[in-house]
């Protein structure tokens, strides 16, 4: 991790030195934000470590403004936010969930501040214009792909696309998460059903996959040797590979599933300028650097991923619409539990 921080600092220095002219000028906003002094960030985006790293990177770039990082899972963050609102207090200034449904609901309630950061136009095309009204913006992204044990599968044996894993030879070899516990898995189930119908899961069930909770459980199952292929995330799998574990990822030819997570400013915040500046930072190059070091996808085209991962421009991306996800997940959970039990 020390390497990470050093690497990040070097990269940031490089970027700042190389491209000062191309970058937006936040001097005025910074001055105003300094008067706010601090902000509170409810986040489910990253690992605790990365969330803290992001907070510290912000404080380093904008001295005098403190970020209170409250990192929890998405449901807990949302539940807290709702309790706060019920009590009529605004504790959270910037809200970063992984569940798009939260934003659709918050928007309906009028709980979000309409604000489009300048940097929102500088992120890659798949990450732009998440909300036509500019209430929330993509600030993090991850992929769901096929993970595998590099020491137990030869290159010619590897599955190439999602449906390859329905073949009987993968019986008792697959690891997956649970849509009832993971928004990532839920979105993946909705997407697979959209592409291949529910038969996909009926066939999958015959292969007796190992069902965990979080999508990251699949990485644990690969490392334990309990299973050798997974429907897993790029970030955690590659991070584990970075530490020397014999795991890798395959980008399926029928499309890697892109997961985009938004952030928004909560209406009624007492620190509007600090919150706006923080939104700019989340969309900025420095944050993209922190992201790729932690094996998340980079939102900024100028920041490329590390070895072992590909930039999103080099493979096929699939992504269901927000409405499909919001409507599809509850149904998918029920059908999943009827099929798999538990």
């Amino acid at each position: 991790m020390r390497q990470t921080i050093l690497g990040w600092a070097a990269a940031a220095a490089l970027v700042i030195a190389a491209a000062p002219a191309a970058r937006a000028d936040f001097t005025q906003l910074y001055e105003a934000a300094r008067k706010d002094g601090e902000l509170t960030w409810y986040t489910a985006h990253f690992t605790t470590q990365q969330a803290e790293e992001t907070g510290r990177a912000f404080e380093k770039k904008y001295p005098g403004i403190k970020v209170n990082v409250v990192r929890t899972t998405a449901q807990v963050a949302y539940q807290r936010l709702n309790q706060d609102m019920a009590a009529g207090v605004v504790k959270c200034d910037v809200f970063s969930s992984t569940d798009i449904g939260h934003y659709i609901e918050l928007k309906k309630k009028g709980a979000l501040l309409a604000h489009t950061p300048e940097n929102a136009g500088k992120v890659g095309e798949p990450f732009q214009k998440l909300d036509p009204d500019g209430m929330y913006h993509a600030t993090a992204a991850g992929l769901i792909v096929i993970g595998y044990r590099t020491d137990k599968l030869k290159p010619e044996e590897l599955p190439k696309n999602w449906t390859d894993l329905l073949e009987p030879k993968w019986r008792n070899k697959i690891s997956t998460g649970h849509p009832g516990f993971s928004g990532y898995v839920g979105t993946w189930v909705v997407t697979m059903e959209k592409l291949y119908g529910w038969q996909f899961f009926e066939k999958l069930e015959k292969n007796r996959p190992q069902i965990g909770r979080s999508i990251n459980d699949t990485v644990t199952m690969l490392n334990a040797g309990e299973r050798i292929v997974s429907f897993g995330p790029t970030a955690t799998t590659l991070e584990s590979a970075d530490r020397g574990n014999p795991v890798g990822v395959i980008y399926p030819t029928d499309g890697s599933l892109l997961m985009v997570s938004p952030s928004a400013i909560i209406k009624g915040t007492s620190k509007p300028n600090a919150a706006k500046l923080f939104m700019e930072f989340l969309l900025d190059v420095e944050n993209a650097q922190v992201a790729v070091k932690n094996r998340q996808e980079s939102l900024r085209p100028e920041v490329r991923p590390l070895a072992g991962a590909k930039p999103y421009t080099e493979f096929k991306i699939i992504r269901p619409s927000d409405a499909e996800v919001a409507a599809g997940i509850p149904k998918a959970i029920e059908r999943w539990r009827d099929l798999f039990g538990g």
Binding site: T73, V76, Q79, Q210, N216, T236, S240, R243, G244
Partner: protein, 587 residues
């Protein structure tokens, strides 16, 4: 209260002035301890009734309007799968309790009443079991008994050439085993605490009348500690049905559902707190029923073992059987502690645990990272121990006081108080946490983000353990000793301070530990209530598991074990042998 009105009872009605003086007189004659009891009831109101009441009200309230409805109950029990989850939990709780009896009572008896060797080691390993967060142990056991890659099953296949695994941890028996092996210390500690104060005289009496050792133990010794056994069984039962981490790790892959995993589903988006509240109600009813049962079983007998009249304790000589006793204890404890930590150690000291064990794969980096580089790890370790210590002190004081007023019948509605003290145990941590957040996070108290909201929630959550233990201990004390103080003119507080507390001292330390240890590993309430500066170690463990960072997760588990052992060792130094070993031999 009865004393106050008695004092004023004979007076006739009169003028207002008289009434005033009567009130003054009443106040003068009032046992000052009454105020203390009233204060205690107020505290219970704050810690238990208010959050609990909110829970009950929520279960009958319509989501947005708050109007009365039964729809939540219809939603909670409208599907066979949900009802099945409830049934699974009840079966699980029963199976776990039964298994805990088999695991704990023989070892407790061996340690407390016999000349079994290596008692110190056994106690230390029980402690090691107790401080292991159940989900950490469950992870260890997944690595040991996973059907494909688990070590036990790999060795089994290697030896026999069998296709099928020897033991698949992803099964109902697997889950029962995992929960029991990390819950039996509750029962162990309850039972040893009680056995430690039974004097040998009663056993001698049985022996004189011709009963053998075995018959004496079954007919005399164990029945004497029945309240403790029942208390322990209830606690393990409730622990089994309220646990979330282990079922989430085992039951979901095994493809069955229990109450807590179902509750989690109700909380996932869109969260249906009111349905969850309705779904949690049967657990409360089960608790009430269990306590009724306990009271009926022990109501007709006396269990006074501490008479203040002296007594002698001698270990029972087991002869060669003492080695069999030790063998059994070590078998159970190696399943609980030794094997899981060994296998977690492989990950904790590995650069990449997926590569397996090899010399060039060894490293201390995971520990170094947690201790010196991680943004919040250090703080969270300190937080955990601080909050747990505060929780233990508050819960112990409260439990003792309430157990006292209930047993001495100082207030008319003691049964209700007992129930209130025990009720929080079945409220799943996350539900309790939501009640707390709703009640105390907003103004006027604004406790959110402070350590207090965690400490108070933990206190509520573990009050049942403290109370069950305190009241079992209290039941064993003969009230005559206190009466002696009071006959000689001492007040009730003096009697408590000089008689009750000294008599209970060793038991109190044990009870303190019984709250302290689970509080250090408490997850489900913490995960909802922690703020930016109040993260605890259990939350960190959960985060690391969620993040798939297994090497560091295992390292943190080892740190937790090491830190607790250090604390216990310091405790030894400060309090003496009593701290953990209580009585190593009869005294």
């Amino acid at each position: 209260m009865a004393r106050g009105s008695e004092a004023a009872g004979g007076e006739a009605a009169g003028s207002i002035a008289w009434e005033r003086s009567s009130w003054a007189m009443r106040l003068r004659n009032l046992d000052p301890t009454i105020l203390l009891w009233l204060l205690l009831i107020a505290v219970l109101l704050f810690l238990v009734i208010n959050p609990l009441l909110r829970l009950v009200l929520t279960s009958f309230a319509e989501k947005d309007t708050g109007l009365f409805t039964l729809a939540n109950y219809a939603a909670a029990y409208g599907r066979p799968r949900y009802v099945e989850a409830l049934w699974n939990s009840l079966v699980l709780g029963t199976a776990v309790s039964a298994l805990c009896l088999v695991l704990a009572v023989p070892i407790a008896w061996g340690v407390s009443r016999t000349d079994m060797p290596a008692k110190g080691l056994v106690r230390l390993l029980v402690l090691g079991t107790f401080i292991t967060p159940p989900y950490l142990g469950a992870i260890g056991w997944i690595l040991l008994a996973g059907p494909n890659a688990g070590w036990i099953n790999r060795i089994w296949r290697g030896l026999t050439g069998a296709e099928e695994p020897l033991f698949d941890i992803y099964s109902f028996p697997g889950l029962t085993f995992i929960i029991a092996i990390y819950s039996f210390p509750y029962l162990f500690i309850f039972v040893t605490a009680a056995l430690d104060v039974v004097s040998s005289e009663m056993e001698d009496a049985a022996a004189i009348l011709g009963a053998g050792k075995w018959r004496t133990t079954v007919r005399i010794t164990l029945p004497l500690v029945l309240p403790a056994i029942l208390g322990g069984v209830i606690v393990t039962f409730l622990e089994a049905i309220a646990l979330f981490g282990s079922p989430a790790l085992i039951a979901i892959p095994a493809r069955f559902n229990v109450v807590t995993t179902q509750l989690w589903q109700f909380f996932s988006h869109p969260a249906r707190v009111e349905v969850a509240a309705a779904f949690a109600m049967p657990l409360l009813l089960v608790t009430v029923a269990l306590f009724r049962l306990q009271q009926r079983i022990i109501a007709r007998r006396g269990f006074v073992a501490l008479t203040g009249k002296g007594g002698e304790r001698r270990p029972i000589a087991l002869g060669p059987w003492r080695w069999a006793m030790l063998g059994y204890a070590l078998l159970v404890l190696s399943l609980a502690v030794v094997l899981p930590y060994l296998i977690l150690g492989q990950a904790a000291f590995a650069k990449a645990w997926g590569r397996g064990f090899s010399l060039d794969n060894l490293t201390l980096d995971n520990f170094h990272f947690l201790l010196f580089q991680h943004a919040t790890a250090q703080q969270s370790v300190v937080n955990s121990f601080l909050y747990a210590a505060a929780t233990a002190c508050i819960a112990l004081g409260l439990a003792l006081a309430i157990a006292y007023i209930v047993q001495r019948r100082l207030v008319p509605f003691g049964g209700v108080l007992s129930f209130l003290c025990m009720a929080p145990f079945v409220i799943p941590g996350i539900v309790l946490a939501i009640g707390f957040y709703a009640a105390y996070a907003p103004p006027p108290l604004s406790l959110y983000g402070t350590a207090w909201i965690l400490i108070l929630a933990f206190t509520t959550r573990f009050l049942p353990i403290a109370f069950a233990n305190a009241s079992a201990a209290m039941r064993s004390i003969n009230p005559e000793m206190e009466d002696a103080v009071r006959i000689l003119g001492g007040g009730r507080l003096l009697a408590i301070r000089r008689v009750i507390v000294p008599l209970l001292k060793t038991g109190l330390v044990g009870t303190w530990l019984l709250v302290f240890i689970p509080a250090t590993r408490e997850l489900s309430a913490a995960i909802f209530l922690y703020g930016p500066d109040t993260r605890t170690m259990a939350v960190m463990l959960f985060d690391l598991s969620e993040e798939g960072n297994f090497e560091r997760l295992a390292a943190l588990g080892w740190l937790l074990l090491a830190a607790t052992i250090v604390i216990v060792a310091v405790g030894y130094r400060l309090v003496g042998r009593d701290f953990m070993l209580r009585r190593g031999s009869s005294d």
